[in-house]
């Protein structure tokens, strides 16, 4: 990207001696606007619709189906409605912090898109510390949530904010530790570097490269649920306990921003796991054309991420919420030790087989397939059992 801007400047597109910093700043502004409005927001909006439909299906409801085909434009209607609503700031609230908080949350959700590896070419900035940047920036959300909880001057909001801070900071540790095995294997923090170290076949993904990575991926997935305030860890906004948690006093657009960030964060968490463990954008070499390959890679990446997003919706539709002490003990008594073991185990593994064990991939893949088959069998059994006469013929 920088090379391209440099070449444009050298070709005199912006006058003879343009101020280099200004041109860069202008490009960054334009690009962030494109990412923000063109990718992140529509994505979060569509995920909100998909989630409501999937959730409705799980709960045997219909869900939004009026605005647009199958209700697919519902998110636009909701967005317009929220933006047009009155922006209420409580008298007792700390107005400046209250107004700022949603933007901080949104910042934590928009900035990771800069290193989102959609395909081999489609990445805004392939930072050499990509993963580090990714985890650091997503943790910014906690500042916004805590700010919102404090500034609202509402006790329920405060409890929600504090819960969120405790939760996100705690789960950062197992999540960070679960990134480590992959970094140990590849020796790079760059998103593209990690993806290039894998191949498109599932048994060459890092998920199946060794047993420790397999466990680490599961730990990372659950920690990502916790960091994104998703069920079963949706304590900060537990509606039955804390009204709406940190968002209790918010209304209109500011309220919307919190939820956009939540839905967008589902994609971000999925992208992180896909990049690290599921082979990222790697796709079979079907064509020699770079454009076709990039489209294939884009598809491959998005399908994997959306599958993870779907599983998080599925989990949300199934599980109840844990209590705060149970959540903390799960993190500190189970995930942190397991993450440490994964890290040490992978280090030993890499020391023994520096180029990876060729057999382990196939064995672990077979194991993964066996688990998946068992799981699908169980799901099918329950699906079959739930088809009862009464639902098929409600008038008997």
């Amino acid at each position: 990207m920088q090379n391209w801007i440099d070449s444009l400047i050298a070709a005199g597109e912006f006058g003879k001696h343009p101020p280099r910093d200004l041109v860069y700043a202008a490009f960054i502004l334009v690009l962030s606007a494109v990412v923000f409005l063109g990718v992140a927001f529509p994505f979060a909006g569509i995920v909100s619709w998909v989630e409501r439909r999937v959730w409705a299906r799980i709960q045997s409801r219909v869900g939004p189906n009026r605005v647009g085909p199958n209700g697919s434009l519902q998110w636009l209607a909701d967005g317009a409605k929220h933006v047009l609503k009155e922006d209420i700031i409580p008298d007792e609230a700390d107005a400046r912090l209250f107004k700022l908080a949603p933007y901080v949350v949104v910042l934590g959700f928009v900035l990771p898109w800069a290193v989102m590896p959609f395909s081999s070419a489609l990445i805004l900035a392939d930072l050499n510390v990509g993963i580090l940047y990714f985890t650091a920036i997503t943790a910014l959300t906690v500042v916004g949530v805590l700010m919102a909880g404090w500034a609202s001057d509402n006790k329920w909001s405060l409890i929600g904010g504090i819960r969120s801070a405790a939760q996100i900071i705690s789960y950062e540790i197992p999540a960070g530790m679960s990134i480590f095995p992959v970094v140990l294997i590849t020796g790079t923090l760059s998103m593209q570097g990690i993806i290039r170290a894998q191949e498109w076949e599932p048994y060459h993904w890092f998920l199946f490269s060794n047993p420790f990575c397999f466990v680490a991926a599961i730990v990372l997935y659950i920690s990502a649920l916790a960091e994104g305030n998703r069920t079963p860890f949706d304590l900060p906004e537990a509606e039955s306990e804390l009204v709406a948690g940190f968002a209790t006093e918010y209304s209109g657009m500011r309220y919307l921003l919190f939820f956009f960030a939540e839905w967008g964060n589902m994609f971000i968490a999925g992208a992180l796991i896909t990049t690290l463990y599921l082979g990222g954008w790697q796709a079979p070499q079907l064509s020699s054309s770079a454009v076709v390959m990039n489209v294939l890679q884009l598809l491959s990446f998005n399908v994997k991420v959306l599958f993870l997003v779907f599983t998080s919706m599925w989990v949300r539709g199934t599980l109840p919420r844990v209590r705060i002490d149970q959540m903390m003990s799960l993190c500190w008594k189970f995930f942190v030790p397991i993450a440490f073991i994964n890290m040490i185990g992978t280090a030993v593994w890499v020391a023994i087989w520096p180029d990876g064990n060729p057999v382990a991939g196939y064995v672990m893949f077979a194991l993964g397939v066996a688990i998946a088959v068992l799981f699908i069998q169980r799901v099918m059994y329950y699906l079959k059992r739930s088809r009862m006469e009464m639902y098929l013929h409600p008038t008997i």
Binding site: Q59, T231, S240, G317, P320, I324, Q326
Partner: protein, 377 residues
Amino acid sequence: MSDATEPALRTEEMTLNMGPQHPSTHGVLRFVIRADGEVMREAVPDVGYLHRSIEKIAEKVGYHGFMPYTDRVDYVCAMFTNQGWGMACEKLGGIEVPRRGEYCRVISTEFNRIASHLLTVGLMGMDIGAMTPFLHALREREMINDLIEELCGARLTFNYMRIGGVAWDLPPGWREKALAYLDHLDPILAEYNALFSYNKICIQRLANVAPISAEEAINYNLVGPNLRACGVKWDVRKDMPYSAYSDFEFDVPIGHGEWGTLGDSMDRYMMRIYEMKESAKILRQALTRMPDGPVLAKVVRNFRPPAGECQVRVESARGDQGWYVVSDGSGYPWRVHVRTGSFAAMGIIQKLSRGLMIADLVVLIASLDVIAPEIDR
């Protein structure tokens, strides 16, 4: 510099106001919580937000006219309040209800018990953060509502019973539909258990939360499923049979503390699941053995029971419901009092709440099956 005898960081208790408008208080309830962070020192229930003077209204509208008002005492299981009022008046006036009328009462109340327990069980799911069980439970409850709607035309406030029996006989074809629903219910309960009750997180959330000992439960006057969950085998239907209950074979399930302590929230929750199965058992027997005959005894329009007082007890979905009626020989009762299970359950919350977490209070309220209109009447 801070003094060595004082803690470096000053902390203070937080007073939280939970309700009357709060998503998980099951109506208009209010709790004043003194909390130390997430842990509660005490939660003091504040009742009276839903008081509608229903008992006083009885003194103004007469015996027949009060029947629709009894629906509003507990609108989640209105059949029981209907029956309680009907039984009290029949006892005062010395009226014999026809056998088929008693069977109709048993059938409608037991269906209502299943509906009420489905709602309780679903609300428990919602209160610990799982929306799906709630909506699945409501879906099954809708089918019962359909059945009852066919029976009496209403889905929530039934006004089905009359002094001396019930208003209408079962419509044609209703019996088959009801039996089909009962066949449908058993697998549903199994599915519900698989989905929610035996879920690891659910058991973790409910087991060992706010256990009540049998002695404590009796001292605090708990009734119904809440009492039986503590291991006390007391059911008015079995121990003081009324209506047609002496005709039927059924068990009275009690708590055993399989998941944690005896009488904890999980026991109280599971009690509802067990009772739905027992209700289905009673319903099957009642529907197959239904005698013929009228459903409503002849009662004069200007019903004037002789002066006196009476007390009847009905085993409602929320436990032993007592109706105390004093007649002075006129067309209007002199005094009516309803003793409800939810009001008794509210009394023990303050004691149990000490040392619980805020999230547990929600579980406690849901497990005691407190319904706001029944507390205040």
